[in-house]
Symmetry: C2
Subunit: 372 residues, 2 copies
Amino acid sequence: MSRTAALLREPEPLGPPIAHIPGPFAMRRGGSLPELEMAFETWGTLSAEADNAILILTGLSPSAHAASSAWDPTPGWWEDMIGPGRPLDTDRFFVVCVNHLGSCFGSTGPASIDPRDGRRYNLRFPELTMEDMARAARETMRSLGVQRLAALVGPSMGGMVALAYAVQFPGEVDAIALISTAARLDARTIAIHSLQREAIRVDPAWDDGDYERPPTAGMKLARKIGMSSYRTAEEWAERFGRQRTDRWGKALFGIEFEIESYLEAVARKFVDQFDANCYLYLSRAMDLFDVSEHGDCVYSALARVEAPRILVVGVESDTLFPLAQQQSLADAFARADKNVEMVALPSKQGHDAFLVDMPRFQPLIGGWLSRG
Amino acid sequence: MSRTAALLREPEPLGPPIAHIPGPFAMRRGGSLPELEMAFETWGTLSAEADNAILILTGLSPSAHAASSAWDPTPGWWEDMIGPGRPLDTDRFFVVCVNHLGSCFGSTGPASIDPRDGRRYNLRFPELTMEDMARAARETMRSLGVQRLAALVGPSMGGMVALAYAVQFPGEVDAIALISTAARLDARTIAIHSLQREAIRVDPAWDDGDYERPPTAGMKLARKIGMSSYRTAEEWAERFGRQRTDRWGKALFGIEFEIESYLEAVARKFVDQFDANCYLYLSRAMDLFDVSEHGDCVYSALARVEAPRILVVGVESDTLFPLAQQQSLADAFARADKNVEMVALPSKQGHDAFLVDMPRFQPLIGGWLSRG
């Protein structure tokens, strides 16, 4: 951990370590950042050859806290996947999770202070792309002494960032796992993301991005729209059905059903954690990402990926990143003679399955890594 | 048309006729309305025996203008289904469509003036139920001289009102077609409806229902959430894909994709037409509807339906009223020894298929009616 420790600069008592990446950091669509701070957490030990690093790239909303760590003993968002003997086995691998560039859990993003004038970036933050996020993650790994990844694991938006990583730095990834993700989004997913952004933008508290207090009504609604697309009707029918609640009072048009109560609780937690402008930037970056920009078409772009092993995982009940998108990713890799394995899981947890369906994801990811 | 004409009281130049139902009209969950005005349109001629009437009960948002009529020559929302030689054949049937109680296209609802004080009802409108709406539709038919329906046709919310009609007045319906509907909603559909209501309620312009100018931002978002659940990813992928637009300018986080442009256009049209409080009342009434209240359970309630012929239609790609709900409706009718026909359509237009997939719906509904 000595390499890591050297990078720490006055960390918060329980906060993640921060990699300081000197700037200027030129952004893909124009503009630059004078410097980057990238929050990350690590588990396990980097080998002397620096050849056992796994980089996890997260979905839109999680932090780098994928599992309990030296910096934070609370369970992380992928707790059951990371640790000694777990699928991302820390007896063997040095596992790193970064908080994306553009996010708000310690990494530089729209909610950060621009060191040039001491004010929050807000909408002055340059246009963000998956490619920028991939490059910032790569710089973070390089600051840890890692030039080459034993594996790159990206679920959801993280899979898009992983693709951006693999097409930009094709020789630096030995294996890549793309989970519930896509080479580019299609109309309905763009529509859902657009509605989430609209919910935030029409909240007067957003104030064109210059809020002092967060636009909680818009953020709550955005989160609830998200939840309704992450999970499935079948799971919610079993879990909530038509159960009523009076937990939130009896206001007309207020919360009457357990499913509403659940969404309210999840949304309240979210607005306390996530910055609205960061959400807008990350959400739009996802919609605008199109791997075909790295070639003449999706196929020729994906043909650039040199990773000797590629795993593509989809979930049959996922309506946000439908299985057809993972299938077409796998088909394109196969056409380009890549060593690709496609797995379609019958999980009923929809897009969120990788977070909750451990009985399916643990053996799949663990088995794939152990065969490497 | 003489019966109808007698009911007209100073119609708007192009507006629908209005049935005036004397009150008080007691509402199922308490409260009453001093009188009802019920807007309707008709096509074809009522037979001397008054035995050829079809009543169409609409989804949440349409008016009574199901087809071009004497009162309005513009195409209606089910134009291709109604007319001479069409599925609802006006050479044979007297077809009636009512604007639901609680709606805002001429019928009494939250946007109407309370005659007792000259002010809009707004949230003073009593709690609305599918059962009240069914009873108001029945009163409208009685005012036209119709005691018994040759057929009752209800798509979407209209199917829930049709169920409420058939269980409350079991001997008065000869045939019932339940299209893309449910005996009661399940958690995910309730969640979607709840998000739509929340979008309206958190718009400061809503002003707890006492708005002077409509809460357009909230209504637009509610409509877009609805559209995203009415249609399917597959259809939108083919129709819009990732096409860009600059039709709405170049504002940051503004509209960039054709799918966003389409939703914006649909939503703008909607907010010019539909009242926000009416939307809230109708949406909540749908969530609270549970046919099992008319028996010990769904099965015993549906066993009350006496219609000699029952058609249940579902669409495989419908995620808002999933096919499993129509299947369970049909199963319950079958268990109760009802003459029920279940049809599952492979349409890719989702919940909206009954509005747009005419090649499938025309022969299905036309054939079923002609066999009666």
